[in-house]
Symmetry: C2
Subunit: 324 residues, 2 copies
């Protein structure tokens, strides 16, 4: 049973009566706090050996833990406020690790204007595990959801897709990159994703639906389609990739566009908006200095198709980021 099925079978029944739980299908939960605002609350676990490598630098692990949670808030259009840290530590963790880890948290607290407010620490006979609960705020009924895509919406994606997935393939020895500059670019995209908070906030009055790409573009767009009851057609050529990844695909026999689409950890936003907002989105892109690419449309149906120039379907890797 994969993570999605476990949640649906065992935990959805515990949340279905609470509207703000959004059926446990969205990036964060909503809690009414005053007549004008809702709290937006999300939680992500990062476990050594599953989400990061035990010997990854502790400051980068800390910052990624913060950022993947911020990315969930960004996907809802929310403003981050505070977080709680639940930290499970094996006895191999020493002062140097803790100092580096807390320095990483500190740095991103400053970057994003947030504060630690609580949490728990526990010893564990298992691997290091970091579970952060991030709390943010949004004006009432303004949160972007996965479930609100409309028929005929354009599908947009921020930044470039696939950099982080390729970085992971380099670490695994599946892709070769020799020059340090390229490696640094890709590793930074893996270790220090940029939560698209400003974009999410700007999309509140523009987008019908949104989510962040944590499990691969295909998986996360599929989540929007499932939640909204529609299908999607994506032009494979429109999916934004970096020049470096484009070159690597040409050079590397085993690296295909299907890996780019199905790989995870991009932490870009994928969102849908009515076609009449095209100009607004292009203006926003220029204003923010952030690439935002139109990649397809929401259509009738239940599946997502990614097609090449002559309309043939590109195959999708379904491996994604299944944790079970």
């Amino acid at each position: 049973m994969n993570e999605f099925e476990i949640i649906k079978t065992y935990f959805y029944p515990l949340a279905k009566k609470f509207p703000g739980a959004l059926s446990l299908l969205d990036d964060a939960a909503l809690l009414d706090i005053d007549p004008d605002h809702q709290m937006v609350i999300t939680n992500d676990i990062l476990t050594a050996g599953v989400h990061f490598f035990e010997n990854d630098p502790a400051d980068l692990v800390a910052r990624k833990s913060i950022r993947v949670n911020l990315s969930d808030l960004a996907a809802m259009g929310a403003e981050p406020l505070v977080y709680l840290l639940a930290l499970s530590l094996p006895n191999t963790v020493d002062d140097a690790w803790l100092e580096l880890f807390s320095n990483g948290l500190k740095r991103d607290q400053i970057n994003y204007g947030i504060s630690l407010i609580g949490g728990d620490t526990s010893s564990t006979p298992g691997p290091t595990s970091i579970s952060i609960t991030m709390l943010g705020r949004i004006r009432v009924n303004k949160a972007l959801k996965k479930s609100n895509a409309k028929l005929g919406d354009d599908i947009w994606v921020s930044g470039n897709i696939g950099d982080a997935g390729v970085a992971l393939k380099i670490i695994k020895g599946e892709v070769n990159v020799i020059d340090d500059k390229s490696k640094n670019y890709l590793f930074k995209r893996l270790h220090l994703p940029e939560p698209r908070l400003e974009l999410g906030n700007n999309l509140i009055e523009i987008a019908n639906s949104a989510t962040d790409i944590s499990d691969g573009l295909a998986n996360d767009l599929n989540n929007i389609c499932q939640a909204s009851g529609f299908g999607a057609v994506v032009q494979g050529d429109s999916i934004p990739i970096s020049e470096l990844v484009s070159t690597l695909i040409k050079q590397t026999k085993h690296l295909k566009m299907s890996h780019i689409i199905s790989g995870g950890d991009d932490y870009e936003l994928v969102f849908t908006a009515p076609p009449e907002y095209t100009k607004n989105i292009n203006t926003l892109s220029k204003k923010m200095g952030l690439k935002i690419s139109k990649i397809g449309s929401i259509v009738e149906g239940k599946t997502i198709r990614i097609i090449d120039k002559i309309g043939h379907d590109l195959p999708l890797e379904t491996e994604g980021y299944q944790h079970f």
Copy 2:
């Protein structure tokens, strides 16, 4: 370095500027949500092999995970609302475990009028770990804190102390209990602590300071003293213990009052209040049908003393529940 030192050294600096973090010293954090209310937020990790046994019934593990978090809210006087569940699962966990676990959550959701609203699940090469973030609410500036004990306050404790600690000693083979009725009583106290939510709520206008006893009466009272800048004198004879534990102390050479005072997992409340509230507290005790015992006083100084009838200090076990 123990848990307290890790928090003080590495995490307190990340929280010190945010008043609602309460210097990471209290049972929960406070977040202003409207002019009349604050959100009260707490997080506790339960890890197999550390906080529970891998083969403990999953429904009891689920319910204890809920209840230790509710106990933190009770200690602040807050009303619980919703929770997030971060669940790390080894591949040995099967459907039967998940079904029992979710049934446990469901049962205590009904008991306490709360709902699951979000969270995360992850696979882990380590032990099962449950990290719950519980959110509650309280009227502004009414939260009970550890740091507000006043000189001359009486020290009070709810229920009986030591039942859960003795249950743990039975499991470890350090104490023998033969009859099932006694075992069941003690095991229930260990596995299903009763969060003192109603008491906490009633103490808002009575107590100066409060905390829940999760690390042993001596440790948690010491936390109140440290946070408030005072000492405490406790009459050992006044510490409430069940008849069963009283009998076991007499029968068991290795079981002493010092273990009762220093053992953890009681999840009763210890609080301080001005002597003039004695009558109110006794009335409250009768009304609630809950034993509430006066056990000592807040005094000048920095240490807590637990004394016998003739004023001699009882020794304290300092083992407590140090996780590191």
